[in-house]
Structures are given as C-alpha cells and as structure tokens.
Amino acid sequence: MFQLTLAIITRRLMAAIPTLVLLSLVVFVVLRLLPVDPLATLLPPSATAADSAALRAQLGFDKPIPMQFVIWIWEAVRGNLGNSINFHQPVTTLILAALPATVELAGVGLLMALLISIPGGVLAYVLYQRKREAVADVAVTLLQSVPSFLWALLLIIVFGVLWPVLPFSGRVGQEVTLPAITGLALIDLLLAGRLHDWLSALSHLFLPALSLALSFAPMVIRVLRSGLIDAANEPYVEVARLRGLSETRILWRHMLKNAVLPTITMIGVQFGFLFSGALLVEMIFGFPGVGNLMVQAVKANDMPLIQGIALLFCLLMLTINAIVDVTYVLLNPRLRSP
C-alpha cells in the first residue's frame, strides 16, 4: 500500500514538471510586461542612466528575456530564486519563513470546513428527502455568496468588536516567541509543552481559519449532497435496508462513504480557491504567511519575490492534486488493483 502511494505521488509529480516549467514561463513573460521599472525603488533619486544600466547588468535584467528565463529556471532548480528587491533577502528564505503559517492556516481551515460541511451536507440531503430542499438551497446559495475576505471582516466585527472575545491580529500574542521545530505553531508549542501559548496560537488561528472554512464549506456541502442523492439510488442501499439496518446507519455508514469520493476530487480541484482566500485573509488578520507576503510583493512590484511565490503556489497546487489522487485510490477499493 505504502509503495503504491509513493509510486503514484512520484509519477504525478514527475508528470507535473513540464507543467511547472510552462507555468513559470507564463509568469515570467507576464511580469516582463510590467509598465513600471521594478528597479526604480533600488536607486537613489540622483542616480544617472549609467548607474541604472550598471544595476540592470548586475541583476541580469539587461539580457534578452529568453536568456533571463533560462538563467532563472537553472537557478530555481538549484534552490536559488534570487533576491527580493523590497526586502533585500533571498526569496527562498522569505518564502520558507512564511510557508508554515499558510500551510497551518489552510490545513486548519480545511479541517474546519469539513467539520461544518459533512454534517451540513447530510442535513441538506435530509432536507431534500423531506421535500424541504428550497430551505437548504437558499441557505447554501447565501453562504456561497460571501467570499472569504468578507467573512474575515464580518468575523472581526462580531468576535473582535461587538463581542471582543478573540484576537484578530498576528499569529500568536506579542509576548509569545515560537520555537522553531516544524514551523507549525500548533505542533511546535505542543511539543514544547507550552499549553498556555498553544491556546494563544489556537485563538489567533481561529478566526482566519474560520473565514476560509465558511467560504469553502458551501461548495463541499453541494457536492456531498449531490453525492448522497446519487448514492441513494444504488442497489447496496436497498440491500442494507432489507438487512434491516436503520436509515441513520445506512446514511452515515454506507452512503456517506461513497458520497465522500467525488467530494475529495472537488476539494482537490478547489484547493486553489482556499489559497486565493488565504491571500486576503492573511492580509486582513496580519497573519505572517505566504499570501501576506504576496500582497506586499505585488504592492512593491517586487518581481523576483512575485515570481518565486507564484512558482510555490503552482507547486503546492500540483502536490495537492497528487495527494488527492492518492487519497482517491486509497479510499476507493475498486481502483486499488495494481
């Protein structure tokens, strides 16, 4: 089983390499359309044209674009994504420092989304069965109309201003320093046995993760309900009924298992949606993740950083797709024969 898993992931990631190169090329070309000079901020106002040309040459911007791309890819393969113009630090350092926060946020967000949408999907299906689907439909459509950054603002209004019970800025309280083990605050603080700080990290994570979850859940609810409706017509449901199993048991133990399969595919496809959401949610909550970094990079026209983060996002998306494929095979015995 483990070997199979590993084989699938490796195969998928290998197949993704050309995609990754092409995607980087797209980003590279688009960023070269830039109307403003990204180097302007690096030079003092008194700089002459010669200074500018010297800097260009130093950073490699004077070479033809195809050449620049080849150099960039070659360096990227060796783990060097260049230096951020704005932060004066290697792009890889900046990204690696911010990545765990985003992974943690997206992971907890996904978990919360599932906690909301699995009961939600079952409820929507039960309402459908009782011919009350209009209620569920309108509720889901309403939820679907609120993007994650509006959830973020609404949650801040409710839990930060009107009823100030939760923090809405930063990753942990100011007095807490994070131990650097895995970079995931929740795991590191637990490993360090600092329960109080762990609670601080959890409470800081709660609202941003909930914002992501609330905007993601309606999609999952829809697919799950649809999957349950399909499952209801399968012969095994009738068999289970004949065996005398209760409806609740059939629903939760048999139908749900099958309805989860298309849901997992959907989660994989829509994961980019979660990352997109994380961009603004991180910015609003001052959460030091990759999304926040991207917003700052975009505002400062920081080309190497934008390029690096774009590459990272594509890599994450491709990895997630590979993981989804594996989960799919593991959960669906029909696909398991080698």
Binding site: L22, T141, I229, F275, S276, I306, F313, M317
Partner: protein, 300 residues
Amino acid sequence: MTVADLNTQTGAEQPQRLQLHRLIRQPRVAVGGAILLMMILAALLAPWVAPHDPLEQDLLQMLAPPVWAQGGSATFPLGTDSLGRCVLSRVIYGARVALIVGIMSALGAMLIGSALALIGGYFGGRIDRAISYVVDLWMSFPPVVLSLILLVGVGTGVDKVILAVVLVDWTRFCRVVRADVLITRRRDYVLAARLIGFTHLRTLLREVLPAAVPLIITLFSIEMGVAIIVEATLSFIGLSVPPDVTTWGQMLADARGDIQSALWVMLVPVCAIIVTVLGCNLLGDGLRVALDPRLRLRGE
C-alpha cells in the same frame, strides 16, 4: 432552414413560451433578477439617485452616524466615512464599477471560453487536446494569484481588471461547455445537419451552440458574481482602480481603520457585495434548474 427550424414548425413554439413563463415563476430567477435589476438601475441612475458626489468631503461631518442612529441626519442617510464622504452615494457609485467589471468580464470570459470549448469539443483530436492542456495548465494557478500577477504585468484600471478576470476565468466556461459539446456533437440531429451538407461552421453555430446556450447563460450569471468578488478583492488590496474612482473594495479598505468607532461604514459595502453576488448566484441557480429538464425532474 435548420433542423431546429423543423422542430419549431412542428409545433415546438408552444413549449418554448411555456418555458419563458416557467423561468419567471422560478422564485430564484425572479428574486435574483430583481436584485440585479435594482443594482443596474442604481448604477445607471447614480448621478440622480445619489444625494452627494461620492468624492465630496465634508470634514465637519466625519463619521456621521446613519439616519436611524442617534445623531444621524437625513442629509447623509447611511452616514459618512472618515473623510466625511456620503456612504450611500459611495455605495451607489461603487455599483457602477462592480457591474461594469461583472458584466464585461463575464462577457469576455464567456466569448473566449465558449468559443474554444465549441471548437475543441466539436472537432476533437489534436485541437481539443491542445485546448484542454492549456485549460489544465491555467487551472494550476490559484485564480486570485494569477489575476494579481496579470495586474502587476498590465497595470491598474477598470479595463485592466476586466482583462485580468477574462484571462483567468475563461477556463471555467471552457471546461464546462466543452463537456456539454462533447455530448451534443454525437446527437443524431448534428449528424443529420452534416449529412444535409451543412458546413462545420454552420453546424456549430446553428445546431451545437443552441444546445449549450442554457448552460452558457447559467455560467454567465455565476461568473458575474465571481468577477464582482475579484474586483472587490483587488480594489481592497488597492490594485484595481485609481483613487478617484469609487469601488466597494476601496470602501472596505478605507473603513477598516474605523471599525471600532463606525461599524456601518464597513457594513454597507459588505452588504452591497453580498446582496449583488447573491443576486447573480440565485439567478444562475434558478436558470440552471429552469433550463435543464433533467434537474427539474430531480428537483435539484
């Protein structure tokens, strides 16, 4: 005369009228349509409806509360923001950008996406594989990340935002419509059209396209909502439009600083965005159900 015309002549006109009737009777279509109509009217009539200029600052009236709250006045029905600008007027003018971006980008994405879907799905083979590959490639980007990169590349402005949304979201149309075209092109009436001697172009436009139209309309409506959210997102970051154009996202960004003292300044644009997007989604959902006989039977 097309094969579809033949159907019409044999008395298919009656059901078609019924379908229009059913469309309006679908509560979701009615409510969604009404919301959008209201927003479009507000946007079109903004100079006459709005009580103030959206950029006019009244520094003596900073953060004035809305009319129903204590100390509110009818001069500023929804109060003012931190620069003394009328919130109601700003939200009405904001509808202009939101709807222009919503309609134009949905239109653009629809045209590009559906055209490629028709070509790929109908002809199949190498063209189809090439188009599908580009779609897959495009979809490996988280959508907002791609539009951010595009905006950095092409610069800011309403037209650039529209361009960015079109370039990101045409794939939604392409993928879904292609799947539909793949089924349609195997239908007997498409084969019949080819046998009568229709050119490929004519078959595509007169036989294959009409079958996909309900789906395309539904996607258009939902895409409008997506585009409005993307615009709000981008202008919230401060990338979408120059500061002298009022947008909902900008209002949100401005209101963040006063969240403790003046909640309504934030809540008004939040509600405007949610209601408009809800209108698009309701309309899209309603149309999907009303136009698709299979779903109608299933009651989904």
